[in-house]
Amino acid sequence: MIINHPYLGPRDASEFVYKGDANLINRPNWDSKNSHQQFHDYLYLRDNPEGEHKELWYHEQGDRSWLIVTRNTITHEVLDVKLVRDVSVGKRK
């Protein structure tokens, strides 16, 4: 499997570590109203889509960047690779 790193080009998947659903970057606000329920959902509920899936990969044997990889879970086709930093800049308060 090959992941096309935005800076480093195509790299073998063995250089990366997989974490999980890219939604893990959307950690709930700790002091919001129903934060317990939100954290419960954040920690324990996952979609298991057939097809496109955004997921987190860490370039551990490389530049240590966390990436969001859009992968088709059926064909393993990698449709898009972005740095997390580029995805969520401006999203934060």
């Binding site: 974490k19 086709e77 930093r85």
Partner: protein, 980 residues
């Protein structure tokens, strides 16, 4: 029949003789032979015994699809079982043995199995290996299982060397038959970077085995010429003896190159190389393989595939029989008959299952619309019996059941091929991205079609890759069409009709599988073992599917195929491992004091990848406890030194470094003063304790974090996740510096005095200047930069001193020299463990992934004022329940007894079952200071039960022990020593 005249062969040198031995019998072959062709030339038709029935078997094919002729092959230094005689390249002095028989190959005692075949049918294991229970170990495993099977391993280490490598190309061409050669040339002339892989040791594929002409030149000579032409291109890499065994995601292929299997000695070079080939495009030109027909006793030595006979004849100049008959359902069988006759061989009959066949051959008896129902001859076929009752004497029967395109690699990503009703074969359908299939692999059986298909596909690839296409013309080829009619199984015979020769699966097994409800192909495969083992059913699968289709009154396409999985041909485990064997698989990490510790005679233990000194035995010490007790007592009495380099170290800098630590630790860090160290507890976001360690503030914006040895990598990954994915607004940067610093714990009442001898004079480390939990950047030994932390895991007055790794070896020697006057002792991980248990510190045994801060008695530590990982989920009721587990200490009521870690805890006079389980002992040790066994563990509501006696139950060795719940701080509970 020892002397066999060799005919002309397209790829042999008849003048160069090669001596070899099969079962200690000396034979002679010629240059270019395989073991199979040479054995056939020596009149040896008996190669092996079959899997289950131990039937005599010959050779069926001339390639890697061989099901029968598996031998034990002496390779350099060891015997390799299940090697195909059809692929072993002959060399002078080659040794091979037959396998799977007791007694000789000719008289195999296990052949008695053949008479019990009625009991050994499909599902035999499932039905038989059931009862009585005692038979399992006594009969089934040792006797019955060993009676069936292929070759046996030597059960010694594989002495060969294997290597791995990586290759990149624009186009990978898989298979160097006519289509592969044409594709390579086309791509090469258009400037693509090409790799051509061929499993055989010659190029040309069936061009060497047939007698077709290309541009009025013999096919095999054309292949030679084209190879010469290909070699002129710098952009082409030709790899022979290289099997592409798997097609993986994103254009990655696995290939095995056999480097030294064809020579007598590897000369210390790698035997095989596992290549990972990264491709932009690939073209599968792997050709097609002929398949078998099922009829009575169709497994006898001398029965071969018709195309294999042609290969032995044309490529190797071997005529495998004196009276050859052919049985075919297509025109290809006729081609073999014609070429045999033209070479002067004796063809006694052609049996063509087709009524309407227009083929005929002068002087050869022909039986049209006729089939074979049975054969005779134990160790070699003697005669065949046709359905009409005719008996024909023959010593070699060629069978042609049609051709299966080699589509495997196009299906490795779950591709399902489609059935072609006219060609009677599966064709590739949904092909992986970047791949094209051309030639016979794509169902083109006429040579000119093969060439055209290959050129067209390559043209598409050239254009896809953005090159301007230079036209290549299709060469003029001879050849004829297949014209095939269905003939899978000859019915009406009482004899067994084999489908899968390698696994001894007969057509009856397929009927039985159907009757017992195993209809799906995947069930059929598992129940009957059809298509398993080293050949993966290359000559048998489609035949088996067709018989199943007939039973189910449906089409082969509707029955479908089993899932194709890599490898295409077997790959040795050693090849997959490459150099990563033994210690190379998982190399040790050594601490800077390793050489010194070795000199001291230390006993080492693996902790993660690290080798750490476990204890340092003195010559008079006979038991490890003696060494450990001494190290503990001496340290507590004066001073001890321990290498703690393996702890994870993370250097954290930035304006928001303090805030960052506030958020990743459960306890507050923002207010930590410069020059101070603090214990930190790290939770997961679900509130469970993850890791702990100390973090020192070296300056306003600079922290030094330590993690446990085990979690060093994981914590760093987690911190990077927090930094990049959760809190991008924080200005913080970090780097792992575990390898950068050698770190020693110096513990005991004399530790300060010892340190004062090496710390440079301008640094005052007296208690008032450098109190408990102080830290600082200092110099030692006259200017060497160092970091000093006054932290204590042992509970003593203690320091940790870090120097750049390259000074680690010197520092331990200097410390031990300077410590002589205090009788300083080195201590290992065991003494470290004893002292931390005496002190009640949690470690890996306690932080096991189930334990919360509350369980550890650290609930109050958790910051409530700000967001930090895990604090919110720590608030859940279950975590706060008074009945939850608490870390406490345990001592045996009877002091002479020893606690056992892992024991579970129960209230007294209650039944020892799961529902009553109240906790467990996590760490135990013998305390030389208290002179009895002590332990840490978790028990419900433990902190309110101090003084209570409970029972520690160890069901593994039936130990029941009364233990008293005590404070986890066995020694110096007020912490006076570490503040001294």
């Amino acid at each position: 029949m020892n002397k066999v005249m060799r005919l002309h062969g397209s790829k042999i040198n008849r003048k160069k003789h090669i001596k070899f031995k099969f079962n200690d019998k000396e034979m002679t072959g010629v240059d270019g032979d395989t073991l199979a062709s040479a054995m056939l030339a020596n009149g040896q038709m008996l190669f092996a015994r079959s899997f289950k029935y131990h039937r005599p078997r010959g050779v069926l094919t001339a390639g890697s699809e061989e099901p029968n002729a598996l031998v034990n092959f002496f390779n350099d230094h060891s015997w390799e079982p299940n090697t195909k005689a059809t692929t072993i390249e002959l060399y002078d002095g080659l040794l091979a043995k037959s396998q799977n028989h007791k007694g000789s190959l000719e008289f195999d005692f296990m052949a008695i199995n053949d008479y019990f075949h009625k009991f050994l049918s499909a599902g035999f294991y499932y039905k038989t290996f059931m009862w009585p229970k005692s038979f399992w170990e006594k009969i089934y495993e040792p006797v019955i299982r060993s009676a069936a099977g292929l070759g046996t391993l030597e059960k010694k280490d594989d002495p060969s060397i294997y290597d791995k490598g990586f290759l990149h190309c624009d186009l990978l061409v898989i298979g160097a038959g006519p289509a592969g050669i044409m594709a390579t040339l086309t791509a090469a002339k258009n400037g693509l970077k090409v790799i051509l892989c061929e499993e055989d040791f010659v190029l040309g594929g069936r061009l060497n085995a047939d007698t077709e002409f290309i541009n009025e030149q013999a096919g095999s000579a054309w292949a030679d010429d084209k190879l010469d032409e290909i070699k002129q291109f710098a952009n082409v890499k030709v790899m022979i003896r290289t099997s592409v065994y798997g097609s993986f995601d994103h254009g990655i292929f696995g290939a095995v190159e056999r480097k030294t299997d064809h020579i007598r000695s590897s000369g210390g070079k790698p035997r095989q190389i596992l290549w990972r080939i990264y491709t932009k495009r690939s073209i599968l030109t792997a050709g097609a393989l002929e398949r078998f027909i099922s009829f009575g006793n169709n497994d006898r030595p001398g029965i071969m595939l018709s195309s294999a006979i042609r290969t032995y004849l044309n490529r190797w100049g071997v005529c495998p029989g004196k009276r050859i008959a052919l049985f075919t359902n297509n025109n290809d069988g006729w081609r073999t008959a014609r070429e045999l006759r033209d070479s002067g061989c004796n063809v006694v009959a052609v049996i063509d299952s087709r009524m309407e066949s227009s083929n005929q051959l002068d002087g050869v008896p022909t039986f049209k619309g006729e089939t074979i129902i049975d054969t005779r001859g134990r160790k070699r076929i003697k005669s065949i019996e046709l359905k009409d009752g005719t008996t024909i004497e023959t010593d070699c029967l060629g069978v042609s059941g049609g051709w299966n395109p080699n589509i495997h690699l196009s299906c490795h990503q779950r591709g399902k091929p489609v059935w072609d009703d006219k060609k009677l074969c599966f064709l590739p359908d949904k092909i992986p991205f970047g791949m094209k299939v051309a030639g016979s692999a794509n169902g083109k059986f006429l040579l000119s079609d093969v060439m055209r298909d290959s050129i067209q596909k390559t043209e598409q690839i050239v254009k896809e890759l953005g090159y301007k296409y230079k036209k290549i013309s299709v060469p003029k080829c001879t050849g004829e069409d297949l014209i095939i009619e269905e003939c899978w199984e000859v019915s009406g015979t009482k004899s067994r009709s084999w489908v899968d020769l390698q696994n001894d699966v007969t057509s009856k097994d397929i009927y039985q599988s159907y009757l017992e409800g195993f209809h799906s192909v995947e069930h059929l495969k598992r129940y009957t073992t059809l298509g398993m083992a080293t050949d993966q059913g290359k000559s048998s699968n489609v035949l088996g599917l067709a018989i199943m289709a007939k039973i189910q009154k449906t089409t082969v396409g509707d029955v479908g195929t089993t899932i194709f999985r890599p490898p295409y041909t077997p790959v040795a485990i050693g090849t997959l491992a490459g150099r990563a064997r033994g210690k190379e698989f998982r190399p040790y990490r050594l601490t800077p004091s390793h050489n010194w510790a070795t000199e001291m005679g230390a006993v080492f233990v693996e902790t993660g990848n690290w080798l750490r000194a476990q204890w340092f035995p003195k010559p008079n010490e006979k038991h490890w406890r003696q060494s450990v007790d001494r190290e503990v007592l001496e340290t507590r009495k004066s001073v001890g030194i321990c290498d703690v380099t393996t702890l994870g170290k993370i250097d954290i800098k930035g304006r928001d470094a303090g805030e960052f630590l506030n958020r990743v630790y459960a306890n507050n860090f923002g207010k930590l003063e410069v020059g101070k160290t603090r214990y930190g507890l790290m939770l997961r976001d679900d509130g469970v304790a993850y890791d702990d360690g100390t973090t020192a503030r070296l300056s306003d914006n600079h922290f030094m974090m330590t993690t446990t040895t085990a979690n060093a990598v994981g914590v760093f990954r987690h911190l990077e996740f927090c930094r990049q994915c959760l809190w991008q607004e924080l200005d913080v940067h970090m780097i792992s510096s575990t390898d950068g610093w050698a770190q020693y714990a110096i513990a005991g009442p004399n530790s300060r005095k010892l340190l004062q001898k090496i710390v440079d004079d301008n640094y005052n480390i007296e208690n008032e200047n450098f109190p408990f939990m102080a830290c600082g950047e200092i110099t030692i030994c006259g200017g060497t930069a160092a970091r000093l932390f006054r932290i204590s895991f042992s509970g003593e007055l203690a320091y940790e001193l870090a120097v750049p790794s390259r000074y680690g070896d010197s520092l331990i020697r200097i410390l031990m020299e300077a410590g002589k006057e205090f009788n300083a002792v080195p201590y290992g991980t065991e003494a470290l463990g004893v002292m931390r248990i005496e002190k009640g510190h949690a470690a890996g045994n306690e932080l096991n992934g189930q334990i919360t801060a509350q369980n550890l008695g650290m609930g109050k530590l958790i910051s409530k004022k700000n967001d930090c990982i895990g604090n919110l989920m720590s608030e859940r009721e279950e975590f706060e329940a008074p009945e939850s587990l608490r870390l406490v200490g345990f001592i045996p009521v009877e002091k002479s007894k020893s606690l056992t870690a892992g024991s579970h805890l129960f209230s007294r006079s209650i039944e020892h079952k799961m529902e009553n389980d109240e906790g467990w002992l996590s760490s135990v040790a013998y305390s030389p200071n208290l002179e009895h066994s002590i332990g840490l563990g978790f028990i419900k509501n433990g902190h309110n039960r101090i003084g209570e006696t409970v029972v520690a139950v160890n069901l593994i060795n039936n130990q029941l022990l009364d233990v008293e719940i005590v404070s986890p701080h066995f020694l110096d509970p007020e912490g006076e020593r570490l503040r001294a």
